[in-house]
């Protein structure tokens, strides 16, 4: 469990970074918090010739609230998402989800950009981004572009990001930010989710007019469940139970040592029910459970 040999680069500016990446793209990875990359290197699951450190590039760690959205720099840590006042006020779902990422030491180093770039299908940020109708900002020497969360995540550890691009920011829409729920099943505090569910709703005249339900841990990428979303709109008395039923029916998860497919479907039911109930119990979703 020692990494293979690589060249280490520590550029000081974004253009310098993008230039280095452009020259080495197919053989390079960028290093953010290292919480996923270093295990991959040590296990020799990745063997890049070049490692380009984002740590000394300024300007990638701001959090800004703009009209209708919150923009978060790629290098913002999970811990900052947990504690930042703008996040808490504008996208409380994101603040809540942050607390489920690993444990404190991981959250102190790991970054939101690293999480979405890594695209673990059990990770929290991808479903938060999906639930909040988010976008991923990407930069390369060719310029800047933005891509919706729906289009960004393609498969296990696979995204629409091209090898010469880096993630610069995540943008969360606040349209659905104020009725929300988040619930996750983890074997131990700090573990990756077996199943996690994020629910975000837009409210008009006291009625839920739009609902977004995103689920981690059931497919090769984070998935939305339209049937569950439809069940939540209007908010009937049985909406949470109906959404849970619909979510559980809609997924076809894999079986592995952490649980059979049937078990995961039950978890989807349980966690969707809990997340939906939180969304119905108004804006504060109460104490963390899970």
């Amino acid at each position: 469990m020692k990494p293979p040999r690589f060249a280490y680069h520590a550029p000081r500016t974004l253009p310098e970074l993008l230039e280095t990446l452009n020259e080495t793209a197919d053989e390079a990875v960028v290093l953010a918090g290292g919480q996923s990359l270093l295990p991959m290197l040590n296990l020799r699951l990745a063997a890049p010739s070049h490692v380009i450190d984002l740590g000394r590039v300024p300007g990638l760690d701001s959090i800004a609230s703009t009209n209708g959205s919150v923009e978060v720099g790629a290098m913002v840590t999970h811990y900052r998402m947990e504690t930042d006042a703008v996040v808490a006020a504008s996208v409380p779902l994101a603040r809540r989800a942050a607390g489920y990422v690993g444990y404190r030491a991981i959250r102190n180093r790991g970054t939101v950009g690293g999480s979405v770039a890594h695209a673990d299908p059990a990770a929290e940020w991808p479903i938060v981004l999906l639930a909040l109708d988010g976008e991923v900002g990407l930069a390369s020497v060719r310029g800047w572009r933005s891509i919706t969360a729906e289009d960004f995540f393609e498969s296990v550890y696979t995204t629409a990001k091209r090898p010469d691009e880096i993630v610069t920011s995540l943008r969360f829409s606040t349209r659905c930010a104020h009725r929300w729920g988040f619930s996750e099943f983890q074997r131990r505090t700090g573990d990756f989710a077996t199943v996690a569910v994020a629910v975000a709703c837009a409210v008009e005249a006291g009625e839920i007019c739009e609902a977004r339900v995103a689920i981690a841990g059931v497919a090769d990428r984070p998935v939305r469940c339209r049937e569950a979303e439809a069940a939540l709109v209007g908010g009937s008395a049985t909406a949470a139970a109906d959404a849970a039923e619909a979510a559980s029916d809609s997924v076809d998860p894999i079986s592995d040592i952490h649980g059979s497919s049937a078990f995961r479907k039950r978890l989807v039911h349980a966690e969707t029910l809990r997340a939906a109930r939180q969304a119905f119990s108004a804006n504060e979703a109460g104490a963390r459970d899970g």
Binding site: L43, R44, R188, G190, A262
Partner: protein
């Protein structure tokens, strides 16, 4: 000649003296040891569970940057590891240092790459190509024992290392007369001790003298030396084994491993030190496993729940090889012996099979077989209680041994020396607030929540020596420990012992014992261990023995040195030796405290002014003694555990809410250290109960090879915890001490299973019989209790 005052340190909550060093990062582990010219080794391991080795391509690796050698099986073919039991019918296995023609588990070493550093060694190791032709794999007990299954070792008749059976004379008649019986089949997941520090060693060989020096992370330096001597064909005088700071052992490091032999052989071939530091992925497949027992137990009992007879069939999945020094009989034998547990059971019939499979070999883990035995007998007691509609506490009270029963000869032939079983059960109900738990359970149920209460009682053989081990058929009988005490001319002492401290706190407790016997302050005592040059022989630290045996040996050696102080002081002070008191840094005349010599002054005189010594007294303040806790049948501790558990009805996830332990390890040298051992043991037991399992697929591929897949309990899984002590001395040991290193880990599986079953009891009848209790398994129990049949 003992006229000491009350002990100053025995029984005191002295802080652990090693913690300052260890917590500041000033510990010195094998990985910190870098002799000049040291090379790094990396092992290439089998990716097949069972295969013939067709060929190994090593040319590319041998030609890689800085590679000094690539060794394969033939290079070390003259050396192999056998650990043979003297039990009738035992089938021997030969474990190669590097596989020669066949591999028998994933992780078995095929080749050893030695290079300048571990990065380059790992790079080169990836260039070795192993051509392995797969053979049918045997990954479970039933397949292994099937008559049609080909034996895994040459010359074998079947896939059992050994089968053993005992039955008491009256068993058959008692069973036929018994009005009731219940049976239960129990499964314990394969798991292991998971020390924080992986295995590691540095081997050096001096061609001039022929001497080997091996730094290795082990609990048993002298036994490693013995095993190396056999394996290498080199006398023990030419082998020094040093275990420096060891980052946890739990039994995993109470073994000689092929990698240690390989590093010695490589160092001799290459004329340079060879170092190997295991990585975690290797640890999961190549450091030994433990705990995988399957028991079928039947209890025969009368109308009031008195158990009349016990029947058991035990099978343990020992993996591919019999390991040194335990042999593949250890767990099966232990379980046979202790299964009747703390109960007044007179008739017993048991069969035990040690099964060979294509899995990582099996060795010791804290509690050795007793967690499984406790799980079986305690689950059985709960079933008997349910069968008769008797309370779980009451059924135990009716069957537990009481004071008048001791010494108790168990139906398996163990002799329990003493105990406080009923008292400990009583006390734990109080300590753990049993009544309050039941009330909270009722409230929780009314609110639709699933809360259960579980309990278990056990007795544990500790500090057993010659008498016990000679019956176990092991090649080395672990009969005693050795300690040497030396006072120097400054009046400070060095205590050397054959045990090893890797968390047990012996560096502190042995100092407490020595300080009292020598009348010194703790700061004046240095305790050393782990180097075979320090004392002559001894087994090491395992089996809850070190405080008792090393404590006894230190007592004897310190007393011998103190006697010399008395002789000389009496001569100088013109008093009688038997009137001399060794206390508080002085040797004084009893009743005349003003007549004294400072111990430091006396020590200086003895070494530096030999003309002041009385006739016949040598200028030597050093003594080496052994202690065997005669008669060697063991000092029996006991404990009662009580816990409450809440289950999430939607996901099956269990959380331990509270945990209480009342334990009796006799007089305590240091209660804080005893409690630390209990906490740690229970934490590991929670791993046994809820989390830890090495899973394999049908091809024998291990599925739990990182900490993301093999789950150990973390801080948030550890409940509110209470512990209290009873102190029933052993009649056999110096100071009445009993061992207590393992006890905490024994009961949690039984307790938590009992609580989970209890949590579901209002829904329907289920029998919780499989550990660990993963959420999915618990959900299955919930479904079964609900009678929905929709078990996942």
């Amino acid at each position: 000649m003992t006229t000491e005052g009350a002990p100053r340190f025995f029984g005191a909550r002295v802080p652990r003296r090693q913690d300052d060093r260890l917590l500041r990062g000033d510990g010195r582990y094998v990985a910190d040891i870098n002799p000049a010219g040291v090379l790094a080794a990396k092992f290439v391991r089998s990716h097949e569970a069972h295969a013939t080795v067709a060929s190994l391509d090593i040319e590319a690796a041998a030609a890689a940057e800085s590679v000094k050698a690539v060794f394969v099986g033939e290079d070390f073919a003259g050396t192999e590891m056998r650990c043979v039991s003297s039990y009738l019918g035992f089938q021997e296995s030969a474990q190669p240092i590097l596989a020669v023609d066949r591999v028998r588990h994933v992780g078995e070493a095929l080749a050893m790459v030695v290079a300048d550093n571990e990065y380059l060694a790992e790079d080169a190791s990836e260039l070795v190509v192993a051509h392995l032709d797969p053979l049918p794999t045997v990954v479970d007990i039933d397949t292994a024992l099937d008559a049609g299954c080909a034996p895994l070792h040459p010359g074998w008749q079947h896939n059992a290392f050994v089968r053993r059976q005992i039955e008491t004379y009256g068993f058959g008649d008692t069973c036929s007369a018994a009005p009731h019986r219940v049976s239960i089949e129990l499964h314990n997941g394969r798991h292991s001790g998971i020390p924080m520090e992986n295995r590691a060693c540095v081997a050096e060989h001096d061609p001039g003298t022929g001497r080997f020096r091996l730094h290795t992370t082990t609990q048993i330096p002298h036994l490693v030396r013995a095993g190396l001597s056999w394996a290498l064909g080199v006398p023990e005088s030419l082998i020094q084994v040093i275990a420096p700071d060891v980052g946890g052992g739990f039994g995993v490091k109470a073994q000689l491993y092929p990698e240690e032999v390989a590093c010695c052989l490589a160092a001799r071939r290459l004329g340079r030190p060879v170092k190997w530091v295991e990585d975690r992925r290797e640890h999961f497949v190549a450091a030994h496993h433990s705990r995988e027992h399957r028991h079928t137990v039947t209890g025969y009992f009368d109308d009031d729940g008195t158990i009349l007879a016990l029947e058991a069939d035990i099978a343990v999945d020992m993996g591919a090889y019999s390991v040194f020094p335990w042999t593949a009989t250890m767990d099966g034998g232990m379980a046979m012996g202790i299964l009747p547990g703390p109960y007044r059971i007179r008739e017993y019939s048991v069969a035990s099979t040690s099964v060979c499979t294509n899995k990582t070999p099996y060795g010791a883990y804290r509690g050795v077989a007793r967690p499984a035995a406790c799980f079986s007998i305690e689950r059985l007691l709960d079933q008997i209680a349910r069968h008769l509609g008797v309370d779980r506490v009451e059924i135990r009270n009716r069957n537990l041994l009481s004071e008048g029963d001791y010494p108790w000869r168990s139906p398996s032939g163990l002799v329990y020396d003493s105990g406080s079983l009923l008292e400990s059960l009583d006390a734990v109900l109080e300590l753990g607030d049993h009544e309050g738990l039941l009330k909270r359970q009722a409230d929780a149920r009314a609110a639709g929540r699933l809360v259960g209460v579980g309990l278990a009682v056990f007795t544990e053989q500790t500090a057993h020596t010659t008498q016990e081990f000679k019956q176990r058929g092991v090649p080395i009988v672990f009969g005693y420990e050795t300690a040497k005490v030396r006072l120097d001319a400054s009046g400070t002492a060095v205590v050397s012992a054959s045990i090893h401290d890797h968390g047990q706190g012996l560096e502190t407790t042995l100092a407490q014992v020595a300080a009292d016997r020598l009348g010194l302050d703790l700061e004046q005592i240095r305790v050393e261990y782990g180097d075979t040059e320090q004392v002559a022989y001894g087994a090491g630290t395992f089996a809850s023995r070190s405080a008792v045996l090393a404590g006894g040996a230190v007592t004897k050696a310190a007393d011998a040195v103190a006697d010399t102080l008395r002789l000389v002081a009496a001569h100088i002070l013109e008093a009688a030796p038997e009137d001399m008191v060794v206390e508080s840094g002085r040797v004084s005349v009893a009743g005349s405290p003003n007549q004294f010599l400072n111990t430091s002054e006396l020590c200086r005189l003895i070494y530096q002014r030999p003309e002041r010594l009385p006739e016949g007294v040598e200028p030597c303040l050093e003594a080496s003694r052994t202690y065997d806790a005669h008669p060697g049948t063991g000092a029996y501790t006991n404990a009662a555990h009580l816990a409450s558990v809440e289950i999430d009805p939607l996901t099956g996830k269990s959380r331990v809410l509270s945990y209480a332990v009342v334990e009796d390890c006799g007089p305590m040298i240091n209660p804080t250290i005893v409690e630390g051992q209990i906490f740690g043991g229970v934490a590991q037991g929670i791993g046994t109960a809820l989390f830890e399992e090495f899973l394999y697929d049908q091809a024998g591929q291990p599925l739990s090879t990182t900490f993301a897949d093999y789950l150990v309990p973390v801080m948030s899984d550890i409940p509110d915890f209470r512990v209290a002590h009873l102190q029933t001395p052993s009649p056999h040991t110096i100071g009445g001490l009993k061992g207590m290193g393992e006890g905490g880990a024994i009961a949690p599986g039984a307790v938590i299973a009992s609580a989970v079953e209890d949590a579901l009891s209002h829904l329907g009848t289920v029998t919780v019989n499989r550990l660990p209790l993963t959420p999915e398994r618990v959900l299955g129990y919930i479904d079964a209790a609900n009678g929905s049949g929709a078990s996942s």
